[in-house]
C-alpha cells in the first residue's frame, strides 16, 4: 500500500460558512505537495480534518487508507506540524517529545535521535516557553518526525522563519521527499514553494482550483508568450503584427508576443533583417500563475467603495 493522504469529497461547515467544499485530492509519496491558497481558504481546516481533530460534515480523509483516528500508532504513519506554539511553556523541550514518544510506545532513545536530527541538542534541556519561533518550528518538526512516518504534513512551516531557516526548511522537506515520503506543505505564499514543491494543490474558498504539477501550472500561466529583446522595437512590432502575432510592449527594449512560436518569430525577424539580443519563451513565476487562478477565490477583498474613497461603511 502506498503511503498517502487521500481526501475524498470533504466538506466542513462552521455554521453558515462552508470552510471546505467537496474537496478531493491525493498526496503521493516521494513528492513535496504544496497546498496553497489565500488565508481562510480552508487549508488548516482540511489538515485538522485529516488529523481527526475536526469531524467532516461530508466526505472523508484517509491516511494510508484508513481514517486517522483508527490508526494504531498514528505518529508512525503521519507526522504533522500544525501549530508550533501548541505546547505548554513550562515543560522542557525534551520532556515534550518524551510524552509524545510514550504515547506511541517509543523509547527515550528515539527522542534523542530526533533532537539530534533537528539540531536542537544544545537547547533540549531548556523550557520550550523560552524558545524562539524558529526553534519552536524545529521542535514541532522533531515531534512530527518522532514516529519516522512515511507521510508528513506541515501547516505554514515557513511562517516567521528567517532566510536561513527558510533555506533549511526547504532542503529538509526536499530530503524527506527524496526518501520516498509523502509531504504535504501548506502555504499562503506561492513563492515559498516555487523551487520546492513537485505538485500543487491550489485551494480557494474551500474548493480545489488546481491540482497539478508545478510545470503544468507555469505553462498555464505562461500560455505561449515569447519575450523579445530588441533595439529596433517599432520595426519588430510592425513585422510581427503583420505576421499575425499579438504584440505588447513590456519595457524600453522588450516586447512580449503571443500567437507566434519562438522559431517563427526568429524567422520573421530574419526576413526583415531586424536584429535582436534576446528571444525566449516567457517564464511566468508561480506567483503570477497563482494570482491568475485564485483571482476569483480570494476570501477577503476590499470593497470597491472603500478603494474609491467614498466614506461608505466598510466591513
Amino acid at each position: 500500500m502506498e503511503a498517502t493522504i487521500e481526501v475524498i469529497g470533504l466538506t466542513k461547515r462552521f455554521g453558515a460558512v462552508t470552510a471546505v467544499d467537496q474537496l478531493t485530492f491525493t498526496v503521493l509519496p516521494g513528492q513535496v505537495t504544496g497546498f496553497v491558497g489565500p488565508n481562510g481558504a480552508g487549508k488548516s481546516t482540511t489538515m485538522r480534518v485529516i488529523l481527526g481533530l475536526d469531524a467532516p460534515d461530508e466526505g472523508k480523509a484517509l491516511v494510508n487508507g484508513q481514517p486517522y483516528p483508527s490508526l494504531r500508532h498514528p505518529l508512525s504513519q503521519l507526522g504533522a506540524l500544525l501549530d508550533a506554539g501548541a505546547l505548554q511553556p513550562g515543560r522542557r523541550a525534551r520532556d515534550h517529545l518524551l510524552w509524545l514518544a510514550h504515547s506511541q510506545g517509543l523509547s527515550a532513545r528515539r527522542v534523542d535521535q530526533v533532537i539530534e536530527l533537528t539540531g536542537l541538542k544544545s537547547a533540549a534541556k531548556r523550557r520550550a516557553g523560552g524558545y524562539s519561533l524558529g526553534m519552536r518550528q524545529r521542535l514541532g518538526i522533531a515531534a512530527a518526525m518522532l514516529g519516522d512516518p512515511p507521510v508528513l504534513m506541515f501547516d505554514e512551516p515557513f511562517n516567521g522563519l528567517d532566510p536561513e531557516g527558510m533555506a533549511w526548511m526547504r532542503g529538509y522537506l526536499r530530503s524527506l521527499a527524496d526518501e520516498g515520503r509523502a509531504i504535504l506543505v501548506s502555504s499562503h505564499l506561492m513563492s515559498e514553494l516555487q523551487d520546492n514543491a513537485d505538485h500543487l494543490l491550489v485551494i480557494g474558498r474551500g474548493q480545489l482550483i488546481a491540482n497539478t504539477t508545478v510545470a503544468e501550472l507555469l505553462a498555464i500561466a505562461s500560455k505561449d508568450r515569447v519575450m523579445l529583446r530588441t533595439s529596433e522595437r517599432t520595426e519588430a512590432m510592425t513585422a510581427l503584427a503583420q505576421a499575425g502575432g499579438t504584440v505588447a510592449v513590456t519595457g524600453h527594449d522588450t516586447l512580449t508576443i503571443s500567437g507566434l512560436t519562438a522559431q517563427r518569430i526568429a524567422a520573421i525577424l530574419g526576413e526583415h533583417a531586424i536584429g535582436f539580443s534576446g528571444l525566449a519563451a516567457h517564464q511566468a513565476t508561480l506567483e503570477e500563475a497563482y494570482m491568475e487562478i485564485t483571482r476569483d477565490a480570494v476570501e477577503f477583498r476590499p470593497e470597491p467603495a472603500a478603494v474609491q474613497g467614498t466614506p461608505a461603511e466598510t466591513p
Binding site: P302, A306, V307, Q308, G309, T310, P311, T314
Partner: protein, 280 residues
C-alpha cells in the same frame, strides 16, 4: 485601503479622530465593551441572579416558624448571596485572568499603558455590573421572602412583620448585601491581578469564601471560631445581613463589612503594585 478611506473622510471635512476624552473615560468604555462582548458573561450574570434568588427562595421555603421561630427572616431571605457571590467573583476574575492566559494583556497594556488607569477602569466596570446584578438579586430575594415567609408562620402572631425596606435593619442588610457583593468582586479582581492564572485565582478566592468560614463553622475551638468570624472576609462581611441578636455577632454589621473592605483594599493594592512591578 485605510489610507484611502481616511483621505475620503478628510475630503468630506470630517475630523480625523473623536474629540479627546479623559483617559479613564475611554478606558472604562473599552473595558465595558470588552466585558459586554466576551462570550459567557451575559449568561454568568443571568445565572448569578437566578441562582441567588433560587437559593434564597429555597431557604425561605424550608424554614418554618413553629419549628424555628428564632430565625432572622431578613438574613434568611438573603441566603442566596452565599452562592451568588461566587458568580460575582467569577465575573471579576474573568475580567483579567484570561487576558494573561491568552496574552491579550499585552494588547490591553499597549492601549492603556498606565497600569493604574487600566486597573481603575476594570474596577469601575466590574463594580457597576456587580451593583446592577446585586440590586436585582437582593430585591428579588427579599420579595420572595416577603411573599413566602408569612405562609410559614412568620406572622405578626409570632412577632414577625413582613419583610420591608422601610424597616431600618432590613434596608441596611439589603444595601449591605449589594455592597458585600461589590467588595467580593473587587477583592477577586485584586487577587486575580496578583495571581494571573485563572485557576489559581478562582481557587484562592473560593477558598477564602467557602473553606475558611467552613473551618469556623465546624471548629471545635471557640477562640478560633470567634477569630475567623471576626476577621475573615466572608464571615465578617456577611454580618451586614444580621437583623436580630446583633449582640451575639462576633463583629457588628458595619465593622464587619469594614473588615471585608480592608481585605479588598489590600488585595487591590497588592494587585496594583504587582502590576506595576512585573513585566506584562
Amino acid at each position: 485601503m485605510t489610507a484611502l478611506s481616511t483621505s475620503g473622510r478628510r475630503a468630506a471635512g470630517a475630523p480625523l479622530t473623536a474629540p479627546r476624552r479623559p483617559q479613564i473615560v475611554t478606558s472604562v468604555h473599552a473595558e465595558w465593551t470588552k466585558l459586554r462582548t466576551s462570550p459567557g458573561n451575559v449568561w454568568l450574570a443571568l445565572a448569578a441572579v437566578v441562582l441567588t434568588i433560587a437559593v434564597s427562595t429555597l431557604a425561605s421555603e424550608v424554614v418554618k416558624c413553629p419549628a424555628t421561630c428564632g430565625a432572622d427572616t431578613t438574613k434568611l431571605s438573603l441566603t442566596g448571596i452565599l452562592l451568588g457571590q461566587a458568580a460575582m467573583a467569577g465575573l471579576a476574575i474573568g475580567m483579567i485572568s484570561p487576558e494573561y492566559s491568552t496574552g491579550m494583556i499585552k494588547v490591553t497594556l499597549a492601549a492603556m499603558p498606565r497600569r493604574s488607569v487600566m486597573l481603575t477602569a476594570k474596577a469601575i466596570v466590574v463594580s457597576a455590573v456587580v451593583a446592577a446584578i446585586g440590586i436585582v438579586s437582593v430585591l428579588g430575594s427579599l420579595l420572595a421572602g416577603r411573599l413566602i415567609q408569612p405562609h410559614h408562620g412568620f406572622t405578626a402572631a409570632h412577632g414577625f412583620a413582613a419583610l420591608s425596606l422601610a424597616h431600618g435593619p432590613t434596608l441596611r442588610a439589603a444595601a449591605g448585601s449589594v455592597l458585600y457583593l461589590l467588595l467580593v468582586a473587587l477583592l477577586s479582581l485584586g487577587l486575580a491581578v496578583a495571581l494571573r492564572e485563572p485557576a489559581v485565582a478562582a481557587t484562592v478566592v473560593l477558598g477564602l469564601m467557602y473553606v475558611l468560614p467552613l473551618l469556623a463553622l465546624v471548629s471545635l475551638s471557640r477562640v478560633w471560631q470567634h477569630r475567623i468570624e471576626r476577621w475573615t472576609p466572608m464571615e465578617a462581611g456577611l454580618s451586614i445581613q444580621a437583623t436580630r441578636n446583633l449582640a451575639k455577632l462576633a463583629i457588628a454589621p458595619w465593622p464587619g463589612l469594614g473588615v471585608l473592605a480592608a481585605w479588598t483594599a489590600a488585595a487591590l493594592i497588592i494587585g496594583y503594585l504587582l502590576l506595576r512591578l512585573r513585566d506584562a
